[in-house]
Symmetry: C2
Subunit: 339 residues, 2 copies
């Protein structure tokens, strides 16, 4: 049986915000299964700032998506057909390599079964119990390493990674300040997630607010944004301060080098540690981390939001919401029905 | 008995290279000893790039030297008089706080006895067996953490810290490339210290030479210089690369922020760790480190050079040699005779 796969193909590399014509929705044949493979009907597609990096040819941590190839992306889906004993039709799975597409053919060895939790929606396995939760987990526990009473500042604090990072830092006993855009996001992270304070970068002077809220300086910066917001936090990192550099979304829609803080010498004078990380390096430790995250979710100690956009055809436009902050939690696209 | 102390006093903060008038040689009274103190006749004064930081009021890791105060500096000297059972006249000691001066009054508890080694000159206790050796030791062993076969690049490689750092990295099994100024320094680090290669930044294209010598990239950067040389090395750091940020001497004679690498995003994309450090943070571990360094010196596995300038009155002019590279190893000033 030959199926048709609808997929977003990269036609040309965007040089600023993604525009119509950069990606094209194409009908492609679905390859016949070889032994030990599954055909997955994708249900949700994860949209992440890092997708924009993959569209560019800037120096990056994975090969860029080639022009003419299906856009890379994480999905969760349901097995339709299987040539392996490991999976049966109806199993809910996450393929290691997927894309902005309706169907994914995946080797059995590169396919993970999703262990559904009572009361937890499927989208959570792309967010708090997926890559974004793991990103938050390892950035906080392996790089920031909070000591109770220390001050932790996270940017894009209402985002999929930042919101979970702040809550993990709270669990570790840190004082958590989040930087987010707009009063509703600031309300959410303080009143519902338990952050100690929020700074609205759209209406407040970030530096002045940091001075007010962190009079003794900042011990840890979980950085998702880069640019001037990063510089405001960085320039207040105190002795032995740590920066977990997770993302620099403010610059992804530009070309050329990603600018750093104004005074790099601060790293020397204040003995800072600045460390970049990518969650894929931590996948060998993911199982234990997911157990701990699941436990926190079960206990209600970690709260999250998934923002579902309907329809694969909306993916490019939806992704641009990430760059405007025009979304509410983890952004996913619904490609097909769960059942 | 009242003694006169000749001392360099900071009269005004230099804004570029140190000029006559920034420091003034003054006659000051020597304070009478209180109980549990020693009066030390200083024999050698250590000159270090960091002295220039202390003269400025830029943000730094110790309080700047106040205008009107004796210039801060490390010395080794001989006890002249003592009001403590711990030290006797004639003991060779290093006071924790000293300065560019003939005499230092030091509390017994802040004074370290020097354990002289056969065949090792006294100056070594300000260099390979002193703060600079320790700086190299901890930067390599605690931050760079070489794995055998990895590539280690050190700038100011013929300097007091860089030359020892490279040799420690060699002992750990790394491939070591040094960046130094001039053919004689490059000859010294390769032929006498055993570095695998040298780059003469005065006559060669540092980037092109790095590409030639490190075709698989750089794993570790022990950084002493900053500026464009740092950027050339940084932009070749590979995945999981480490930078031990020890100094940025190329910018100390300027005012304002110390510029960083052009593409800070490399820290993210290549999961780099950039860590600044100052040796004083490691003093609790100094004893074991000095034992290991002493053993390497005894075995002839670490070679070094001390460059002695005669006369306290020469200290400011001598310090400027550090910024021109017009010195040969660890720079010290002889203030008085050893005996």
């Amino acid at each position: 049986m030959t199926r048709t796969n609808q997929a977003w193909v990269l036609k040309q590399r965007p040089t600023a915000a993604v525009e119509p014509g950069d990606l094209e929705l194409a009908d492609l044949p679905v390859a016949a299964l070889e032994p030990e493979q599954v055909l997955i009907r994708n249900v949700y597609l994860s949209l992440d700032p890092t997708n924009r990096i993959w569209m560019s040819d800037r120096d990056q941590y994975l090969p860029p998506v080639a022009v003419g190839d299906v856009m890379r992306g994480s999905t969760i889906g349901v097995v339709e057909t299987s040539t392996t004993d490991r999976f049966n039709p109806g199993d809910v799975v996450i393929p290691a390599d997927s894309g902005w597409q309706r169907f994914t053919v995946s080797d059995a060895t590169s396919t993970s079964r999703v262990r559904k939790l009572d009361g937890v929606p499927l989208t959570a396995h792309l967010s708090v119990l997926g890559m974004t939760g793991l990103t938050a987990y390892f950035g906080v526990t392996d790089i920031c390493r909070p000591i109770a009473g220390e001050t932790f500042v996270v940017s894009a604090a209402a985002g999929a990674v930042g919101s979970v990072a702040g809550q993990i830092a709270k669990i570790a006993g840190a004082r958590v300040v989040g930087i987010a855009g707009g009063p509703e996001k600031c309300r959410w992270i303080t009143e519902e997630l338990g952050f100690d304070a929020a700074i609205d970068y759209k209406s407040q002077d970030v530096g002045a607010e940091l001075d007010r809220l962190c009079p003794d300086g900042v011990d840890m910066n979980f950085e998702n944004v880069g640019g001037t917001i990063m510089d405001q936090v960085f320039s207040r990192l105190g002795t032995n301060g740590r920066m977990a550099l997770c993302g620099m979304i403010s610059s992804y829609n530009t070309e050329g080098p990603l600018a750093g803080p104004r005074d790099f010498g601060r790293i020397l004078m204040h003995r800072l540690t600045v460390r970049g990380f990518v969650v894929i390096d931590y996948l060998p430790q993911a199982k234990e981390a997911l157990q701990e995250l699941s436990e926190w979710v079960r206990q209600g100690r970690i709260t999250w939001k998934d923002h579902v956009v309907e329809g694969l055809e909306e993916a490019p436009a939806a992704m641009e919401r990430l760059f405007r902050g025009d979304h509410d939690g983890k952004l996913v696209v619904r490609i097909s029905d769960e059942n």
